[in-house]
């Protein structure tokens, strides 16, 4: 049976590629700057937030623009990917009622297209690093680790959201609020050290904190993430993935009755 699933995935891997390229193609179609927006958007946000927060949080953070951007890239990826995955089933309901396709491909394609966007946004990060004359270490190549973890985590959460939203459309609106709360509970523009003890505990329970911190470690501090940090991230990501897969698999046959 496992073998059959792999064969099925192979057959439809072409569809996954097509869905991702469709997402990427239609996103900036008819805009003059097109793909450049993937780079300009985080740059613009970074500049505004640097100006706004330059006096408030800057103490204790060396190279605030890079610090900020690292947090932003990871968080924005997660937010975009999970929100995209959430709508993936409903948005394709017209198709799912007419043709058999493995349903998980739709949330997965949204995660993949967001991941491609994240890779392009890296250009913005490199621009900032060069502009601030920041010294890079070889450990930057290890950033692939936290990126992989956050992708898996986002897919797991996305599967749960995609299932939930079929039954309760309110989830779409509710999740917007959750994401806003989540921004503030992630050390994107503030350092962990400035938090009071009780808030710190909550923030360090947030999985995204772990991914963001590991991302910064490799890019800013030239450190190799420890084995235990890696294991923690792996456990969190795969727990999310397994929960997502179980929830999705249990419900996917019923989706069609709720469109």
């Amino acid at each position: 049976m496992f073998k059959g699933q792999i064969a099925n995935f192979k057959k439809y891997s072409q569809l996954l590629k097509q869905l991702v390229s469709r997402d990427l193609k239609t996103r900036y179609r008819r805009s003059v700057l097109g793909f450049l927006w993937t780079i300009l958007n985080p740059l613009g946000m970074m500049i505004i937030m640097t100006i706004v927060f330059s006096t408030v949080f800057r103490q204790g953070i060396e190279n605030f623009p890079v610090y900020l951007m690292c947090g932003q890239l990871i968080f924005n990826f997660f937010s975009e990917a999970s929100t995209g995955a959430m709508g993936a089933i409903l948005d394709n309901s017209g198709l799912l009622t007419k043709v058999y396709v493995p349903k998980y491909l739709f949330p997965l394609s949204r995660i993949c297209s967001s991941a491609v966007n994240l890779l392009f946004s890296m250009v913005a990060l490199i621009i900032v690093i060069i502009a601030t004359k920041f010294k890079l270490s070889w450990t930057i190549i290890l950033m692939i680790l936290p990126i992989t973890y956050v992708c898996i985590f986002a897919f797991g959460i996305g599967l749960v959201l995609a299932t939930t939203v079929v039954y309760f459309r309110d989830m779409r609106h509710l999740y917007g609020i959750i994401i806003t709360a989540w921004v503030y509970l992630t050390p994107i523009f503030y350092p962990m050290s400035m938090l009071p003890e009780n808030v710190k505990r909550i923030v360090s329970l947030n999985p995204l904190t772990k991914y963001v911190e590991m991302f910064r470690q490799t890019i800013m501090y030239g450190q190799v993430p420890t084995l235990s940090a890696n294991l923690k991230c792996l456990v969190i990501s795969f727990t999310a993935l397994i929960i997502g897969m179980v929830v999705f698999k249990k419900n996917q046959e019923k989706f069609i009755l709720h469109f």
């Binding site: 072409q14 569809l15 469709r22 193609k25 394709n92 017209g94 198709l95 799912l96 396709v101 309110d170």
Partner: protein, 244 residues
């Protein structure tokens, strides 16, 4: 040709819950659950339907609106799971339940061929090889690089048909789609389906046109309110259908 069963439908029933009012939000759901106002009726769209289709046969499903025809096709093509009963399918299926399901209207015809082809599970190199053939059958040579949102509905349908039928599936499932497009294109479609049948493709067709059923199929099944009424010669079944 060996006449083995490629589709075996055994005692298939499917139940839908008809909520008196669609409840889509958590708040509403909670309120109704608490006040016990969450009412629904069980509705059996298909009741113990069984039939077999042999390899190379062309079978029509006829019946009035709401008799369960489309639901039957959706079960055979794997979109829906039956509540009870079993289904045995041998071979690849090309479902044409709605042409161009999954088209992205922002994309061009050429891009949609690959997207739609992938949805139907067709391999990419096969699509690349037959790209010109798909476009020329749909008569869209001049418009292949135009986003299909600028197409007329007939053009979209032609493209959909052309993609779906470029590949010779073992089983072709057709829902009511041959009634779209102008009569010349309809004839062209029928001709293509005929050609596929000559190469051994099994056809399962839903149609309201008894003329078409008699012309294309060898056998017909009459459904009424989810029950199988008659399974037999097209002439006989169509006559009973028209008398209903």
């Amino acid at each position: 040709m060996q006449s083995e069963n490629v589709i075996q439908v055994k005692d298939v029933s499917i139940q839908f819950r008809l909520y008196k009012e669609q409840v889509n939000s958590l708040k509403e759901y909670m309120i109704r659950k608490m006040t016990r106002k969450l009412q629904y009726e069980n509705f059996w769209a298909l009741k113990n339907v069984s039939f077999d289709v042999k390899k190379g046969e062309a079978v029509a499903i006829v019946g009035k609106n709401g008799s369960g025809k489309s639901t039957m096709l959706k079960i055979v093509s794997g979109v829906m799971q039956p509540t009870f009963g079993t289904l045995d399918i041998r071979g690849t299926i090309a479902p044409m339940i709605e042409l161009g399901a999954g088209f992205d209207f922002e994309l061009t015809a050429r891009e949609n061929i690959f997207l739609n082809g992938a949805i139907l599970g067709y391999p990419k190199d096969m699509l690349e090889e037959n790209l010109d053939e798909i476009i020329s059958f749909a008569e869209l040579e001049k418009f292949q690089d135009v986003p299909i949102k600028n197409y007329s509905s007939g053009m979209v349908t032609r493209l959909g048909f052309s993609i779906a039928t470029i590949y010779k599936p073992d089983i072709l499932i057709v829902d009511e789609i041959l009634s779209v497009g102008d009569f010349r294109f309809q004839a062209k479609c029928e001709e293509r389906i005929q050609k596929m049948r000559e190469q051994g493709t099994t056809l399962l067709l839903v149609s309201h046109s008894t003329e078409q059923v008699k012309r294309v199929c060898d056998r017909a099944i009459l459904l009424s309110n989810g029950n199988k009424i008659l399974d037999g010669d097209t002439e006989e079944v169509c006559n009973l259908y028209l008398d209903m």
